[in-house]
Symmetry: C2
Subunit: 765 residues, 2 copies
């Protein structure tokens, strides 16, 4: 059991998640009746179908129960759906306060808001660019010192013997940098580990990953990524830029920092999930843009990952049609001009058919098992730091060994000079080619592989390098360090692409390196449109667009046959309730009746304070949204936990006798000030007298929640939920009575497996 | 009045629109009571709130009434909203038949469907590419003959005098081609006029433009565009490609052609608006891709125009953030590398700030008044043909005059040889520079302006050319010929861009030509992200991306200050109920109660055939969707006119006495076979006996329509409607009773004017 609840990553210290932890009775499905319709207490005005469990259905099957008896079973398989993740609220709560504010606001007011939005986007761009700039400069400067030092050391000992001292120097240097980076991440902010792309994907999808967009995360991410790149790990600094951009956006758009306890009192209008999400997607785009110099690619990345109702499959098909169209046009025009080979190089197009996706899938497969191993055995911060240091040492040693035993000597070319040419055992005026691939930041190595003259690399060098780097990169991704997988993938792909290019003698190996890089990266991350644009923008050459597209399409099709994309694997292994683009194709036979959570905890429009406190304090349910009803159980609104918390905190009570308001009228500002870190219910003290008071929810509830009937099919509900970014969808019967509630986990639970529709098990972990 | 109902364009022969024409009493608001609650007839089972006008609210204000008294008033102002346009149904009607089919379908079945989708997209790409290829080759070959002939003629007469013969030859040639193209368009298919982009925008937005995606339209479009380009008009062949691609997609995806009376019996699953729309967007993308060699740009175009819930403003802001980010990074990195000018050419960035948008806005402004003039006075096909021929003759004459009086002689350069160098009055070994700009297809002229050496063009030549071509292009757009505005805009922009480049001596005029072209086109059409990508892909040089973006952003901001984009102007002038991305900002004070149409024509679940026939035959209402209710007026479903028509055609009646079905059970196939040209109700004969029968709608209605309550705010309803692509949204009260219906025109009616929220008037025209 302890392996289940203690986890390495993302949110191992889920202090925001309420006290649902080990040994809570909820995990034993038998202790808590699923339909606790009988649970109702005196003193409340409305007693049927309420105050009972919802949002949590303990459908832990017999299979799962037995698994708990066998601690050897891996608990984090992909058949679980975690209940610990909360959702974000991308649907505005259009309550009276909100509508009043909107109606009061003049046309000029909306203009100003619009201008602020542009201003914030500009700021996000500038800050993200500066961060990228900072990382780049620091890495370059420090890496230069490191490589100079090692180079001098090696040169000193090559003749006299004693190269083991150089090895130790190299290993220790890497070791130290990685240790610093890893300690920062593992002990201070585990959510800063990795590239952050899966986390940002989840955020844009509507899942709340605790602490993912905090200032502290950003600081640790930046320091961590500098350390791991300088530490010589097989990582890139590009993925983390996307995360950094997102954090910058989340911070700037709120006009305050909770960490720094500083509120500038500006941009208060944007203090809600809907607005913040839009800015975060802008931030992620700015991150891509800064990392690859690909602004259009950045926009496409955000849209592929974040837009509510942008259908990826559809886009992809549209893209396909576009591509075919250009191709046909080019082909026939080139025939008509008696110049059939005109459409860039057809040799490129026929290439990279199969290996691309297979290698990517293999990478993902290995990383999948490695991640499961890590979740089981490497979950303590100190173990994580040790693993990172081990990887650093191994990377240095392997590199060194490879260089040592390589005898691929190339003549020193003054024109395309390598930055750190290592002579080693080569003749004077020559340098060791293997050394240059390792003895460099990965970005520079990629560039050399793309642009160096044919003949610069020996096939054996490339082959060995590919294999070694493949395993190193695979081992590295998922370590407790801030690091991206883009550049290592490109490097692996570029190496074997160039290898293929050398074998096909008539081709330019640089082009093949590019195509190989695209294939490898596409096979690992499985993005299509955005990745094409990113690569084209990064290479600055539109003519490679068509071959890159074809290779990415192939890589995705082949790769999807074996395994999902790397990011999706990591999301699934965390059991995140991630909503895909569409409901599973074969789910039309499911109706809302089967899918929804029922019975629902409802509140009355005028409700006893005591009842509300009890509902919120019920740690076994921990609901976040409550339909508001009037007699006889007719739906009249929806209120959120966060709103109730603010109401309780400000004691907006009405005494039973009269209708005297105990405090000043609540403003929208009070809710915004509390956003996004609403206090837990335990921190709010309500006296026994106050428990007897009433609370009028009319003004604060959303009076027009979206509703569906029980007969609605799952795809239809899914579409509504996904398109509008909902968090709670109320199910009503034909007399407008509340009969159920659909939340994210009810929909995310169904997925298409190998044998048709499958249902994931819900778990507290 | 006659000016109101007779219109030039789009759908001047609206034979599908039902017999609502001149003199219908509906136009006189007083004759038809708005709330005709009393209208109910005997024999039907349910009598309150039904069989009364909906979908049509005759809110023609006093202002408008008085306008009718003054026939001088221009009737097509932008304050009208036409009721003649039907909507498309992008929301599946999930009735029992549909659900049964979906549930019967196996996983393999869905796989096959998915594969068909890809196959169709491939086919669309191939066919669109072939069409582009055909147009390109034909235009090139025929234009070559034309220019060779004229060139020889001019050369013959230059020395001996008698150039007026050449002028006449030129004019007559242009004249004839344009006449053919114009006759085809004006007499055979008016919807093929223009670029077709506004029509495709409307289609993707959900408005049904009659005959816009028919085979006949495609044939006429292709012939028309060939004629008008060869006819030397100031037009391009690129815009029409987008329309052509869309028609190809609509045809291929349906697996049959109604025009050719050929049904291949394949792809029957795709015979509904939802699926067809997706293919049409793929077709439009393929068209862009074929026209500009810009596959990514094509995808973005489709998404900017078509995606349901892709927010353009948001995208644009995201894009802005991306751009700023790259810029910042580049800037600071270039400082850090002591090489501040590194980020392409900063000279380009500082350029094109203001004129760009202003010139575009001026173009749109002139074209706006010209279009209004045309709608009023040039609405008969023969007049349209004559106008087109006039323009052709004027274009030829003006070009000739310009060439004749120009003495911008340039030395013949064997390396960058012009295709048709005209010596005219120049010295031997020189050619007339003005002639080359006119004496060419516009595409080639644009290319020359971008790529020719500095010094090739004389500033005076460019200035005169810009002015002349500006007015010619403005006059040409909106003629009854198939023609695009992309290339003429680029040409104008390139000319004045190059002019500016020549003045700023230190700059490369070719680059400035590109930037000018982007600015001019952006100022006219006001696209951002997609246009940037299209231009970058078309020029094949990513480094111009940043300046192009900046110029397009500026052009849009400046242009929007004066006037809308050209396509939006034309859409507005046709009074199309176009739904923008969001509800107007200041519309929160409007609730569904004020917006909805009420009372609603409802049908009973088991309804008398006679009642249904009467409802459908009611030409004064012409409703398309009917809520289905059970006693006491509780909503239980929604049924469409088209479905009822199919039911009546197949006589799915139940006799009053027993429950005997008169015919075989209806299949989904019967509905698909009738799609999309459902017969009018008048063509279906129902005998007096049959009128007394009943019809059971249970199986055919959509039992789970989306609903809202009366208190829902306009922006909230708008979001639901837009995101899900709805056609009818049922408004219910707290007891699930139908109280109203929201349709497209109820939402499209509100827009943000200069003085805050304005309401458009509804009109039958």
């Amino acid at each position: 059991m302890s392996n289940i609840t203690k986890k390495v990553s993302w949110s191992s210290r889920g202090d925001e998640l309420g006290p649902v932890g080990e040994g809570t009775p909820l995990l034993n499905g038998s202790e808590q009746p699923r339909h606790s319709r009988q649970f109702s207490e005196g003193g409340s005005l409305f007693q049927i179908d309420r105050l009972s469990t919802v949002d949590l259905e303990e459908e832990i099957s017999a299979e799962e129960e037995s698994a708990r008896g066998q601690p050897k079973e891996i608990p984090h398989n992909s058949k679980l759906l975690s209940l610990k993740y909360e959702s974000l609220d991308y649907d505005n709560s259009e309550n009276q306060l909100f509508l009043e504010e909107e109606r009061r606001m003049s046309f000029t007011g909306f203009r100003c808001l619009e201008i602020s939005r542009w201003l914030i986007c500009g700021l996000i761009g500038v800050l993200t660019g500066l961060i990228a700039c900072f990382i780049d400069i620091v890495v370059e400067k420090v890496a230069r010192y490191k490589y100079e030092a090692i180079k001098q050391n090696i040169e000193r000992f090559t003749e006299v013997g004693g190269l083991s001292i150089s090895l130790i120097l190299w290993a220790v240097l890497n070791f130290s940098f990685v240790m610093v980076g890893s300690i920062l991440v593992a002990f201070f902010e585990p959510v800063a580990a990795g590239s952050g792309i899966p986390q940002i994907k989840c955020y844009l999808n509507g899942v709340k990953i605790p602490r993912v967009v905090r200032l502290k995360t950003l600081v640790i991410k930046v320091c961590g990524v500098i350390c791991s790149v300088i530490g010589g790990l097989a990582v890139g600094k590009e993925g983390p830029m996307i995360h950094s951009g997102a954090v910058v956006a989340a911070g700037v758009s709120q006009g305050r920092s909770t960490t720094l306890k500083k509120d500038l009192m500006i941009f208060e209008y944007f203090r809600r999930d809907t607005e913040k999400r839009d800015f975060v997607s802008a931030g992620a785009a700015a991150g891509v843009s800064a990392a690859f110099g690909a602004p259009v690619g950045g926009v496409l990345f955000s849209l592929e990952e974040g837009a509510s109702f942008w259908n990826q499959m559809l886009t992809w098909r549209i893209f396909f049609a576009s591509m075919i169209s250009t191709f046909t046009l080019n082909f026939f025009l080139s025939i008509s001009h008696n110049n059939t080979g005109d459409l860039s190089n057809p040799g490129l197009i026929n290439f990279g058919r199969f290996e691309s996706g297979v290698l990517g899938a293999l990478f993902n497969f290995l990383n999948y098992w490695l991640t499961i191993f890590r979740i089981r055995y490497v979950h303590r911060p100190c173990l994580q730091v040790m693993e990172a240091m081990l990887v650093a040492a191994v990377t240095a040693s392997v590199s060194f060994t490879m260089i040592y035993f390589s005898n691929d000597c190339q003549p020193l070319d003054s024109e395309h000079a390598e930055e750190y040419p290592l002579q080693l055992f080569c003749a004077d005026g020559e340098y060791n080619s293997m050394a240059t691939t390792f003895f460099n930041t990965p970005e520079k190595s990629v560039r050399s592989l793309f642009h160096n003259q044919p003949g610069t690399y020996n096939p054996l060098t490339l082959g060995l390098f590919t294999i070694t780097y493949f395993f190193l990169a695979c081992w590295t991704y998922g370590l407790a360090v801030s690091a991206g997988v883009f550049i290592p993938s490109l490097l692996i792909g570029a190496a074997w692409g160039r290898l293929c290019g050398i074998w096909l003698i008539w081709a330019d190996p640089g082009k093949y390196a590019l195509i190989g890089a695209a294939a490898q990266l596409g096979g690992i991350v499985r993005m299509t449109l955005s990745l094409t644009v990113i690569l084209v923008e990064a290479t600055g050459n539109v003519t490679y667009g068509l071959p890159i597209m074809l290779v990415l399409l192939t890589a995705k099709i082949v790769g999807d046959y074996f395994q999902e994309g790397l990011y999706d694997i990591h999301i699934k292994l965390q059991s995140v309730p991630f909503l895909h683009w569409e409901a599973p194709a074969t789910s039309h036979w499911l109706t809302t009746r089967e899918v929804m959570s029922s019975p629902v905890t409802c509140l009355n429009r005028i409700e006893k304070v005591g009842t509300i406190v009890d509902v919120l304090s019920n740690t076994s349910t921990n609901h976040n949204g409550f339909p508001v009803v009037v007699q006889p159980s007719k739906l009249c609104g929806l209120i959120l936990r966060s709103q109730l918390i603010v109401l309780l905190k400000h004691k907006v009570f009405v005494e039973l006798a009269g209708s005297r308001l105990t405090r000043r009228k609540l403003q929208l500002k009070d809710f915004r000030d509390a956003y996004p870190r609403f206090p837990p219910i335990q921190s709010i003290h309500v006296s026994q007298d106050e428990r007897e008071c009433l609370m009028d929810l009319t003004e604060f509830m959303n009076p027009t929640p979206y509703t569906v009937t029980q007969e609605t099919s799952l795809p239809r509900v899914f579409k509504l939920f996904r398109a509008l970014g909902l968090r709670h969808l109320v199910v009503i019967d034909d007399a407008n009575r509340v009969v159920g509630l659909v939340t994210r986990k009810d929909l995310a639970r169904y997925h298409l497996g190998k044998h048709g529709l499958e249902e994931l098990h819900l778990a507290q972990t």
